[in-house]
Symmetry: C2
């Protein structure tokens, strides 16, 4: 098992680059990391010895500058496995990922309550079930993702509204129950880490991930680093006010993106539009898809609000690209056109060139996000 303390800075840099952008030859690594060839070779050595990296067969190089055949370094994806679990108000969703964050297996467990002791018991059982699939010997780390105010550095869940948790020492307690090394991260930040290391954020200095669902969140990477906010708040795209005369929001603001496009707001407006107080979100989606104009207008307004919020991100921070995702986007066919139109209208000048990837996201992907935080903790502590 690798401990962070084992790795010199050059080794961490080599590991990170090969993991996120590899396979890469030593020459390419030296150029990319601004290191000497000797430093790359020295940095790679312990990682090869521990089995995390391997040399691929040499490929003959031809053309100008061809010299010795290059033996690219690649990650041995099955050298270690990582459990990731997303904790929601009514369910645990767990996956086992390999070192390249590919999902190898997954499992769910209903949560009858959000009582901390019971959730931890269920977590222990879920992890056991996952590891029993043949992963136990090579799994040492567990990543947990929770919505709300989470302190990664201490593993403390300060406040999670959906779970109704306050000041839960989740890392400590999960380590005791599972025997694994645990990371705890806010779920949107965990997803952002997954995109940054293994998705559309690879190799870009800045990008944003916007999640649409019960809440509307955003993870921001600027200068290659996740933005945390000096006062503990960042990425709160859901609470940008985009309609000065819009509905009041639970946060105390007015016309917030979330107060128009969050799941609760959509249900409320759809009920009003249909005059049917028992309407569910699923009903509303079905009606809109069937062409119900007043319900369709509710989704249109939501798409407009999300697009305006995303444009605010582009205008202020100028990310290289923006991914829009989240469980709310299971109805993304209803949102996508208006998100794009509204974004284009409100993005300033060249900010409108920022590519938007709009796609739905399964709960397994959230769990994978949790796992990638523990991969990152291994590689680049």
């Amino acid at each position: 098992m690798l401990h962070e303390a084992d790795l010199a800075p050059a080794a961490t840099a080599v590991f990170t680059a090969v993991l996120t952008e590899g396979p890469l030859s030593r020459v390419a690594l030296a150029r990319r990391l601004d290191l000497s060839s000797a430093a790359v070779t020295k940095g790679a050595r312990p990682l090869i010895e521990l089995g995390y990296l391997e040399e691929l067969a040499a490929t003959e190089r031809t053309g100008p500058g061809a010299g010795r055949p290059a033996s690219p370094l690649a990650v041995r994806a099955d050298r270690e496995f990582f459990v990731g679990v997303k904790i929601t108000g009514d369910e645990l969703i767990g996956v086992v990922c390999d070192l390249r964050a590919e999902i190898r297996t997954s499992a769910h467990r209903r949560l009858p309550t959000t009582d901390v002791d019971q959730v931890l018991t269920s977590l222990g059982e879920l992890v056991d079930e996952l590891l029993d699939g043949g992963y136990r010997a090579r799994t040492h780390r567990l990543g947990l993702a929770v919505s709300g105010d989470v302190d990664y550095s201490t593993g403390l869940v300060r406040y999670s509204p959906f779970l109704r948790w306050r000041d839960v020492r989740l890392r400590e307690r999960a380590e005791k129950i599972t025997g694994l090394t645990v990371t705890v991260e806010n779920d949107v930040k965990a997803l952002t880490t997954a995109e940054h290391w293994f998705g559309e954020g690879v190799g870009v200095e800045s990008f944003a991930l916007v999640t649409v669902g019960a809440g509307i969140g955003c993870g921001l990477v600027v200068g290659g680093r996740l933005v945390s906010g000096a006062h503990g708040v960042a990425g709160e795209i859901g609470h940008i006010g985009i309609d000065a005369n819009g509905p009041d929001c639970h946060c105390g603001g007015r016309g917030c993106v979330e107060a128009i496009a969050g799941a609760d707001a959509i249900v409320r407006e759809a009920r009003r539009a249909a005059g049917r107080p028992e309407l569910t979100l699923q009903d509303a989606v079905a009606l809109a898809r069937a062409g119900d104009a007043p319900i369709g207008a509710v989704f249109d307004r939501a798409g407009d609000a999300i697009g305006a919020g995303i444009a605010a991100v582009a205008n202020l921070v100028g990310p290289a690209r923006i991914v829009v995702s989240g469980e709310g986007l299971s109805a993304y066919d209803l949102f996508e056109p208006r998100i794009r139109v509204s974004f284009q209208r409100q993005a300033f000048g060249a900010a409108s060139e920022c590519p938007l990837s709009i796609r739905p996201l399964s709960f397994e992907q959230w769990a994978r996000g949790a796992a990638t935080v523990s991969i990152k903790a291994l590689v680049a502590a």
Copy 2:
């Protein structure tokens, strides 16, 4: 004269720390910069030899840990002077600053036209006038600040609406005319650099400067670095849409902060409110101060819009502090209360703890911003 190439990384780090946070002892510098004492001493040596730094008289230390008396390193502010010029559509505003960015003298020059040749001729004359005040021998650098789309790295003004300039090689041409080493920067970014190095941004990882005037702009520092935007756009707080049903903006968006709170918008709404199409901004300010309710409401709406835009910055990026300034804030008594109320309402959770400094700003301060960019170019290229 010091060239950037002369300075090793440790020297740059020492110079930057002493300039922005000094005087500092070598021990304090070593601790702050995570360098060995030997590296600090070696880094400081050429700067002392060239006269940029000096050792202050040793102060006796007492109490626990007292050892040798510490001789703090300090900047010799008059070792070199820097000219800064802000170029507006009708005026050049120039200052001479010392190495600590203190303004030593200033001068103005009306611009009859924005023709590039004529502006450059006037610039040459203005710089001559400033240097004739006894600064010529120790001045080697000139910083220029221009509103609009400016490429710092090449010194090219891509587009400046107020000047009606497109693709002007300003650095090259200004160097030819003045014989000085020239930097060219966007005016809001230049002001942000001044706050970052010599103002409220010293020592914080992140902060924002919001400028209120003809346009509404924002400079953002995140992770200690000025945010530029992957597509060349960042800090466009003026084009965040905060009122989905608000007025159309010249940018193509709707309900932008600038479309409600920019100088043109205020004049337009004040004229409408008063039914007096000849009303000027000065008239509107005077009427609002005299208690005219409909005109006061125009400023209230503007303050609300600015506050909502600032809250969007706080919610998304979470800066440690935000400075609100600009020539538009000569009427800041009219804006300030509503900016604060609107910010507090729309800032999410702990983001509302972000301190706001709201203060007016003279054109000399913009010119000083231009000078600080050239100071930074000297110190930390």
